[in-house]
């Protein structure tokens, strides 16, 4: 409860800090959620996506 209380006093108590907290929180959440989703998708489809096979074709050219 102490944590909730200090979070409230520090961030949510005043409208200005509350709005900033929500906006920053949205950005951070978006990025984390998106990257987690991509990682999960690539994990499920390991070896099937272009990302996983392109090194076979790119390295051959750069040599």
């Amino acid at each position: 409860m102490a944590l909730a209380k200090s979070v409230y006093n520090l961030l949510f108590r005043r409208t200005s800090t509350f709005a900033i907290t929500i906006m920053c929180g949205a950005i951070v959440f978006e990025r984390v959620f998106d990257q987690a989703g991509d990682t999960l998708f690539e994990q499920i489809n390991r070896g099937k996506l272009w990302k996983h096979i392109k090194h076979n074709y790119e390295e051959a050219e750069e040599e």
Binding site: F33, D34, A36, G37, D38, L40, F41, I44, N45, K48, L49, W50, H52, I53, K54, N56, Y57, E58, E61
Partner: protein, 307 residues
């Protein structure tokens, strides 16, 4: 009805109940349970008959489809079948090789440009090299002449025939359809195309197929104007995969699925994120509903018949 009182607290309810004493009440004739027996039987019969009738109509409607003569393709376990399963891009790459070396002799894919392959099955440098192999008529130049130049990334796939009439003449009057969207344009999608490509066989006894047509049980009408296009070792894969007939058919179908639905992988990626989002939201909404309703659910409803 007047006798029914919603009471929030016993304290205030007492007065309400007392007030109700003097009002006249009558029996509510609204529920099924209070109907006479004869009516109950009649209503029940009506319900059963309606439901049964709808069920019978649906069943009959289904059986009409069974009179089709063509063979329906089985459901094959494509690696992109799952809800969040992407296409197999190595297979798309082999499938493009099959299209280019086999199918493109007769079939166009006019809605596909070389640039579409970049980042899907080939690198940009590879696609540039592929595009340069073809000659494209461009122009007019400064003197008003048309000229030919090597293809570039933005060019669309070359067509085997200049127009549908020429395509018909070259194929015994049958028009090879454009393959860009073929798996969406046929019932059964890639299952159908796979079955069609691998399904050629001798006609059963008593069935004769006209000169220039081939027997294929999966094709509506059973006689198709396309000669069996693939067989074992019809080509040699650049990645060394053994080119058996079913491998070739599977790869070209995966390629055609991608061609018809290039957004396939993105769609499933977003679907997965939607499911993840719902996993967070649905419990929250459920909790909120329970929270809001807790007031209503914990009310006390009392009924005291007037004396």
């Amino acid at each position: 009805m007047a006798a029914l009182r919603v009471v929030a607290t016993t304290g205030s309810g007492r007065t309400l109940l007392n007030a109700a004493k003097c009002t006249h009440t009558h029996k509510a004739q609204m529920s099924f349970a209070s109907l006479p027996k004869g009516k109950k039987v009649a209503l029940t019969t009506l319900g059963v008959l309606t439901t049964g009738g709808i069920g019978l109509a649906l069943a009959l409607q289904q059986s009409v489809k069974a009179s089709d003569l063509e063979l329906h393709p089985p459901n094959y376990p494509w690696s992109h079948n799952g809800m969040v399963s992407s296409l197999d891009h190595a297979s798309i790459r082999r499938g493009y090789q099959v299209y280019k070396q086999v199918c493109s002799a007769c079939h166009s894919m006019e809605y596909l440009a070389f640039r579409n392959l970049v980042g899907v099955s080939h690198t940009e440098a590879e696609v540039k090299a592929i595009a340069e192999e073809i000659e494209v008529v461009d122009g007019p130049d400064d003197s008003g002449e048309m000229f030919t130049r090597p293809g570039k990334l933005s060019d669309y796939f070359p067509k085997p025939y200049p127009n549908p009439e020429a395509a018909r003449v070259a194929n015994n009057g049958a028009l090879p359809p454009d393959l860009s969207y073929i798996v969406n344009a046929r019932h059964g999608g890639e299952d159908y195309v796979f079955s069609l490509l691998t399904g050629y066989c001798d006609p059963p006894a008593g069935v004769s197929v006209r000169e220039g047509l081939y027997y294929n049980p999966y094709f509506p009408g059973q006689a198709i104007g396309m000669a069996p296009p693939i067989y074992n070792e019809v080509l040699e894969y650049e990645d060394g995969t053994p080119a058996t007939m079913s491998q070739v058919a599977k790869d070209v179908c995966t390629f055609l699925r991608w061609a018809a639905e290039p957004e396939h992988d993105q769609r499933k990626r977003m679907g997965l994120k939607l499911l993840m989002g719902s996993a967070i939201l649905i419990p929250l909404v459920y909790y909120m509903k329970r929270h809001r309703w807790s007031v209503l659910k914990s009310r006390k409803i009392a009924y005291r018949p007037p004396k």
